[in-house]
Symmetry: D2
Subunit: 344 residues, 4 copies
């Protein structure tokens, strides 16, 4: 951290800042210029709250040199974190494909779709039982009943299940049914929930908030990691911009940025990233080409009658075609698409 | 709602859409053009999920004519909602000024600041006991201890207390201490929490999410209102844009837009809206001039040593000067600043 | 400027950076920490291109301490720049109100509106002869004919004329007719045009680009100022954000930020800032309350038949009411509304 | 186009709107609902200015059904437009790779880089002679001298030259030297310039403005196309968002959206889209995977001493490696990388 003192800062201001930094267990290095003094903060420790220093008399600016997250960083953990999922090592050379409907609607629906995506090559099944909806009048999901149907679908197909949890209190319940807990974009900074899933020690897929920076995503991951729960997959799902031609703007840059900054696996969600099924294949291939460790995709056998997100759901045959293209693309970017032997 | 059929839609497509709309209890009006057919949805009812229709075969576009919220709308409730707060009718001609520190740090601090803001003319006291922080390593608030200190400050000064609740489970606890529950920007779409505060029947200050649209803010209010809890104040606190000179971009437009669209009171938060104390006075006066029903401001007697948000906190003397200017401005925009007789 | 060297930078890297900075005429101050070396650049001179240093081997980050503009800054010119306009000193305590139609449509229209706004108290007349339109099929303005009608309106009412110039070649022509040249938002970074209006020595109203930062606005002003043309008014006209309830998001924060950072006058454009006439009064009062030196407003006697921007144009009676409210507000914020004796 | 009348619109309002639409040469279709009347505009013609109707008494909203551009649309021209460039058919199955430095710095530099990119497989050479820089104190390009060096580089390597033109007056000059005129992001809505390059009948690469929507990009293309100049390549180069980890956010979604909406070729610019050379390869491969017709890339043999954009420039060996990966990727997405026989 670097503290830039104001041109008008007094000697007393400067010595106060130095004393405070030292009181926090750091050393300082002084650079006294003609115009101003600059104080370098030296040593390792817990991240300092920049604001505290920034408010001191005579301080013009406080600039971070390193990032505010630690366990999530590649400096802390240089090797890729690998998370096993149905025989795939997510984060390694294997690609993972998570697929299924936005919402679990009934037992038959989720089982039918589970069979379809398994046949096409999916690694895991997604499906929402608790749905965050902007309107209180929209379908809110089947709740625990939906979780049971997901478990039934797993029993039928062998596919592990990933599903969203919205309520900290519901974490133990969802852990009973789900193999991976999903934190939705709207809850990326719901810290009570992050603590709860961290404590659960269950694998987590953490979606980026629709207007969260990459750094904030890693800070939210840090909440989970700080409980010793290292099985966190990061998910880029599009950000909110001025563009309205698509539901969100898929931030393709985030993929190489996250892979460089962190050791955690990165999953791409082109369904939410575009909001329209006709663009999902293009952006899925793009995400893999950019270095994503896998995809999470909405698939529905009858999108027109889906309870939610039908507009962005692929039909099973389109999904199968996309998986096939991904399989061809994989070796070009040093990946493989595992021949999976699912144990039922 | 208007359904625009594709130029290539078949007669069957059109009749299917009509049948579906009718099955939902609405009537239709058909406009058959040379290029395409347009179907108007007629009648009143629960908002329809546009997506469901939008996915049907042959449908090009579905456009809303009315908004998706109902109880929050001025059509539903033409008169301004008034919420009593310490003798002020928030939402009427009275202006409300809520002030206090970002975080409750200790008993002495909150009591000292409470006295200072009361003397300057504040209507209510703010202060955070549970703090949403982007880093797990930052100060997270004093928790219940902080709530107790707030209650002590109320006992000392007579100022009602507004404080944030982050955890649905903690709502009953916070209701014991707080006069108004604050929903923070990061939790604006934490629906579990919205349901919980709706059920509590406690007054609520609902902050706009940093990248939430005005419509989404009203939809989140609708969650609370749908429980019959009508005492909801909306809070504009700045949105996230590309501009980095200020912490957020205070959306001044949102004030007249919200006042026109809804009957609920609108409170402005220039502290978060700018992020720098030196801009807070200008933007506070702007917000009142634009029609806000009140202000919520961060005030700290020692910002340089504040645990959080010191950069945007006014010192008590600056706050007092701002209140004085607000008092002068009030009659220009048809408002009054009540001479308050606080009962101790 | 501060150069943060990478933890892995070699001694040679460091000495190369130092040599380069010295070759540019600056001195350096070295801060050698345990983890990394930091180099402070000392002395005054022309702004350095950060990129050049940033690319050198071993450099992790280059951080500016001062801003990249110079003549536009308040450090360079601490006193407010005053620009005379029809007896008003724009930038001083006087408020300026520039009003008129988006486009000059015909001679009668501009003269009728000029009389109306003059009567209501306007300082100057706006009206577009060259119109930047997103569609090549929309009305593009009357061109030189429009300029002549503007001059006629000035002759009739005594109001000075402000009009947009889009083409560098057309600058001399527009200078013949206009008292103030307007640079539109879309041309804020059209550097050929900025050079041309700088050279013209004519007063300029420079609009902020719809997605330009405040710093970029000041850099564009710097282009004009660097020709010795000091009569530049900055104009906040709303920025592009995710919010769609209004045409743009008026950045109220920009007003105090610009007044603090620069000595140039700041004019607010709530017509474009909101895009809807019903919000213009609220945001106009807000802008004045926040410290703007004046307003530029679209006024049309027949908005429904306006060739452009009718949606955001005030009718003359609404404009007159707004001027009256501004007059009442002015003394609250230390401003005055001059009783003007226009010489006809 | 659909005109939604207000619930309170009078019969007179409705008949006025109908009369006006008919006066414009369109027919109407009326849908009279219980709450409101909706008027469909029927027939084909020049796009109507929505604003004009939107301002009429009793009109609540005017919604477009079709897009405001015409010649740029795929409906108007269903087949892909092919633009020949050095033996490559840009917009067909061939991939085009345009590469070179940000700025032409001297004769030796551009010739050295031209040889390097040609050897690696580039289709054309880029290089700026006129540079739009946010600071008037930064290097502004060599001007005509730079154009001459570009022509020399073409003579030496056979690579066609693409270079930016900023000044409408300079279009004839630049046409003498350049094979393709580039319109930079800051000038995307510089209509005087768009008209000038349209008239020139020279091939154009049109960059998307940093905060322009996809629709606005197509509208700007329409300006050029409306002069009968059909050789327009669209260029996605990243948009401005809240994210600061990268210089811009490359809008990968824009590629399939543009390919679906328009027949014009789409070129991706990952150098500006990311701003950091270490992310350029990932995003280049992503763009090709998403359906781009080619890439434009900044390459410099000595980025650390580049006059501009060194931070995002690839060294020739990294560029060669990227071309090789692109060559491998091409067949997976139905593309080919032509074996080019450049005539020297």
């Amino acid at each position: 951290m670097i503290v830039v003192m104001d041109a008008k800062a007094s000697a007393r201001d400067i010595s106060d800042v130095i004393a405070r930094i030292r009181a926090m267990g750091f050393d300082v290095h002084l650079s006294e210029g003609k115009e101003r003094t600059i104080i370098g903060v030296i040593g390792r420790g817990r991240p300092i709250d920049r604001e505290q220093i920034g408010l001191m008399s005579g301080v013009q600016n406080v600039m971070p040199v390193s990032h505010p997250y630690k366990i999530a960083s590649r400096e802390y953990h240089p090797d890729d974190t690998l998370i096993p999922l149905n025989g795939v090592q997510v984060g390694g050379t294997d690609l993972a494909i998570i697929a299924g409907p936005c919402s679990v609607e009934d037992r038959a629906q989720i089982i039918e779709i589970a069979h379809a995506v398994r046949e096409a090559g999916a690694t895991a099944l997604r499906g929402g039982a608790f749905k965050p909806r902007s309107s209180p009048y929209s379908f809110q999901g089947l709740g625990e009943e939906g979780l049971k149907y997901l478990a039934d679908a797993r029993a039928e197909t062998g596919l592990p299940v990933i599903t969203e949890v919205m309520d900290p209190q519901a974490v133990p319940l969802v852990c009973q049914y789900a193999d991976v807990l999903q934190i939705g974009a709207r809850n990326m900074q719901n810290y009570t929930l992050l603590h709860a899933v961290g404590e659960s020690q269950h694998p987590v897929l953490l979606k980026r908030g629709m207007s969260s920076t990459i750094e904030e995503l890693l800070m939210s991951a840090e909440y989970i990691l700080s409980h010793g729960n290292m099985r966190v997959m990061l998910c880029e799902r599009g950000i909110r911009t001025f563009e309205t031609a698509t539901r969100n703007t898929f931030d393709i840059n985030a993929i190489p940025v996250l892979k460089q900054a962190s050791h955690l696996p990165v999953i791409a969600d082109p369904s939410h990233g575009t909001g329209k099924w006709e663009y999902v294949e293009s952006v899925s291939l793009a995400a893999i080409a950019a270095g994503a460790d896998g995809l999470i995709l909405e698939v529905h056998h009858d999108p027109e009658n889906a309870q939610s997100d039908g507009r962005q759901s692929l039909k099973p045959e389109k999904f199968a075609a996309l998986v096939e293209k991904t399989r061809q693309l994989a070796p070009i970017v040093g990946r493989q698409f595992p021949v999976r032997e699912t144990v039922r």
